[in-house]
């Protein structure tokens, strides 16, 4: 129970929450990444396109005097440099071997203009741009724009090419902001996803927990346990099935109990009904016993047989009634304070087992709290059984010992007979169990040991039979010194 309640690493809750978070993480990261890529592309495209068209438009406003000389090239470049887009740019012009840069006093060309860019613009006239980074890792966009002119309706290159080098610092900042925003948005998103994950896990786990508790209650015998069916999902279906099964089980168990109760009541009724006529018969046979001597021998023997059997029948009926009371749980303890040795001796005396057939080993002055009538029945049954089926001498010993929760007494009855066969031992306390199949008619009712066991149980103790170390059978009764305590 406790082991199941502990949060296991791959328990249902962990797995549900993990699955939830995984889905949330994938969707958050995926959305953020796609949005970011799209936004970054848009930002950069806009900057690049603005730079390209800006350079093209501003260059178109100029009139070139071919061939260009250094002065004219420098003048155009300086003019273009002043009209940079909002971020500002540096413009470089190339014509033949002439080079000019817009940065006053700066270099006439830039290392960011790649050879690839120059060769691509040399032949085919079109605008072009290239994103690149300088030595410090700062991103730049380099726009290349050849100057062409119309000749006979056809565009001809002038041979002059202008380059604008523009830092993408603002764009980089914007892109970094977007990355930060995506990251800062994803983590709280995951944290928020934890809430529905836990709720979903709870909605699944609560019915499961209820089901487990109900099953445990059923196991303890509370067959009227039912689960509240909520919703219409699979778990509700399971709960419904559980309830139906529990109802069917309860009905079956009820029927069985009623049948058993009827059977026990029948046995009790039968024995009760038998007792009244038996009492009369016993009285009659006693009278007849006294008159038997005056009858002829055959009739006398028949009379004694009837008398004997009637006595056995009366014992059987008494035992049946006793066991019926146990079955009906009507048996009660009437506790007395008794001296153990005294109680044992009294039982033996009452049965006239005071000769050498019974040897006792009793502690003097030990007082116990028990039902003296039932203790008498227990001891009498055990000793009677030992004398009948075992053999003299029968040793009766009583010991006391201290255990956790109180003192216990151990009553041991050992006989000197042939002992009990091992296959018989488990059944020795069963009702009407006959150890010897041939000996179908014994003196006892066949209920003596069963009644003994019930009486010991009533005291909260146990009784067991075993083979003695020197042969013979040993019956051991262990029960609390203070019964019912």
């Amino acid at each position: 129970m406790r082991r199941i309640r502990a949060i296991s690493p791959w328990g249902l809750r962990t797995r549900l929450v993990a699955a939830f978070l995984l889905v949330a993480a994938i969707s958050a990261v995926g959305t953020a990444a796609l949005t970011y890529r799209q936004a970054r592309t848009a930002v950069l495209t806009q900057s690049q396109d603005t730079a390209v068209s800006g350079l093209r438009d501003q260059l178109a406003a100029h009139t070139l005097q071919l061939p260009l000389d250094q002065q004219q090239l420098q003048q155009i470049v300086t003019e273009l440099g002043k009209r940079g887009t909002p971020h500002g740019w540096h413009v470089y012009g190339e014509y033949g071997s002439l080079r000019a840069g817009s940065n006053p006093g700066g270099p006439p060309t830039s290392p960011l203009i790649t050879a690839d860019m120059r060769s691509r613009l040399g032949g085919v006239p079109h605008g072009a741009f290239q994103r690149t980074t300088d030595a410090n890792g700062t991103p730049y966009v380099v726009v290349g724009m050849p100057a062409t002119f119309r000749l006979g309706g056809v565009r001809r290159p002038t041979g002059a090419v202008f380059y604008a080098v523009m830092p993408l610092a603002t764009e980089r900042q914007t892109v970094q902001l977007m990355v930060d925003a995506a990251r800062n948005g994803a983590l709280p998103g995951l944290a928020i996803a934890l809430v529905p994950a836990l709720l979903a896990a709870r909605s699944v786990l609560r019915p499961v927990r209820n089901l487990r508790k109900a099953a445990q209650r059923m196991g303890r015998g509370e067959l009227d346990t039912r689960i509240e069916v909520r919703g219409a999902d699979e778990l509700a279906g399971l709960a419904r099935t559980f309830n139906e099964t529990a109802r069917a089980l309860e009905n079956s168990v009820d029927e069985l109990r009623q049948a058993e109760a009827r059977a026990r009541r029948f046995a009790a009724d039968v024995s009760h009904e038998l007792r009244t006529p038996l009492t009369g018969m016993l009285a009659v046979t006693e009278v007849l016993d006294e008159d038997a001597e005056r009858l002829d021998p055959d009739t006398a023997r028949a009379l004694r047989l009837i008398s004997n059997e009637t006595g056995k029948l009366a014992v059987l009926v008494e035992d049946l009634m006793e066991i019926s009371r146990f079955d009906a749980r009507a048996a009660e303890l009437n506790l007395d304070d008794v001296d153990l040795a005294e109680a044992v001796r009294k039982t033996l005396e009452r049965r006239h087992w005071v000769d050498e057939r019974v040897v006792t080993d009793l502690p003097e002055g030990v007082r116990a709290r028990l039902d003296s009538r039932r203790f008498d029945v227990v001891l009498a049954n055990l000793v009677g059984n030992a004398l009948k089926h075992g053999g003299a001498p029968v040793r009766v010993s009583v010991r006391t010992e201290t255990r956790v929760g109180g003192d216990w007494l151990t009553l041991r009855v050992a006989d000197s007979g042939p002992g009990i066969a091992p296959e018989v031992l488990p059944h020795i306390f069963d009702r009407f169990y006959k150890a010897d199949a041939a000996r179908t008619r014994s003196a006892g009712s066949g209920l003596g040991l069963a009644i003994t066991k019930e009486n010991v149980h009533l005291h909260g103790g146990t009784v067991r039979a075993a083979a003695g170390p020197d042969g013979g059978a040993v019956f051991t009764v262990e029960m609390p010194l203070e019964a019912g305590a």
Partner: protein, 198 residues
């Protein structure tokens, strides 16, 4: 009861969407998570920042005005990298086609050389400059035959382009539509167009 619980758990997780498996498949599940995380991380890190690109063409070139007379023709020289660079010839009256070619053979002037312009057409000794062998013929179908007083076969590709474009520019029509055949004392070259540049 415990066994039943285990079976339920396995079936349930299967229903979540194949993310996990039965208890024994925890490793597979972990691997899926790791892959997903790695994928996300790769997406985030690889996609961050501004990446350099190659050269990307973007639209038309700039169209500038060039200060020259409407009747001017162009003489084509070569830039240091080998591109054709036109230089207007705006003298009045307009020069005859053969005069324009003579101008080309004389090579770039001082100001043009200062800009790094050069020519690959060999210069001629003065005696041949005004010989009768200069002839530029043009028929109505946009074909032009140019007879030159020097061998044309040894001419470099750059020199041929210079001659073809300069000659085509004198035709009055769009220079790229004119088909020019160069002839010299050593025979002719295949007919050629001035390369179309947009």
């Amino acid at each position: 009861m415990r066994g039943v619980g285990g079976a339920r758990g396995a079936r349930f997780v299967g229903g979540v969407g194949g993310v996990g498996g039965v208890r024994g498949a925890g490793g597979v599940r972990g691997a899926v998570g790791v892959v997903a995380l790695a994928l996300g991380g790769a997406l985030l890190t690889a996609g961050c920042g501004i990446k350099p690109t190659g050269v990307i063409e973007s639209g038309q070139p700039a169209e500038v005005s060039v200060a020259m007379a409407s009747y001017a023709t162009q003489v084509y020289f070569l830039s240091p990298t080998g591109g054709l660079v036109p230089v207007p010839e705006s003298g009045y009256p307009p020069a005859a086609p053969s005069d324009v070619l003579r101008r080309l053979l004389r090579g770039p002037r001082e100001s043009e050389r200062a800009a790094g312009l050069r020519t690959e057409v060999p210069a001629l000794p003065d005696s041949k400059e005004s010989g009768p062998s200069w002839r530029v013929e043009q028929n109505g179908d946009g074909e032009m035959t140019v007879r030159l007083p020097f061998p044309v076969r040894p001419l470099s590709a750059g020199a041929q382009r210079q001659l073809v474009c300069t000659a085509a520019g004198t035709a009055g029509a769009a220079p790229t539509t004119v088909e020019v055949t160069l002839f010299g004392p050593d025979g002719g070259l295949p007919a050629a167009h001035c390369p179309a540049l947009g």
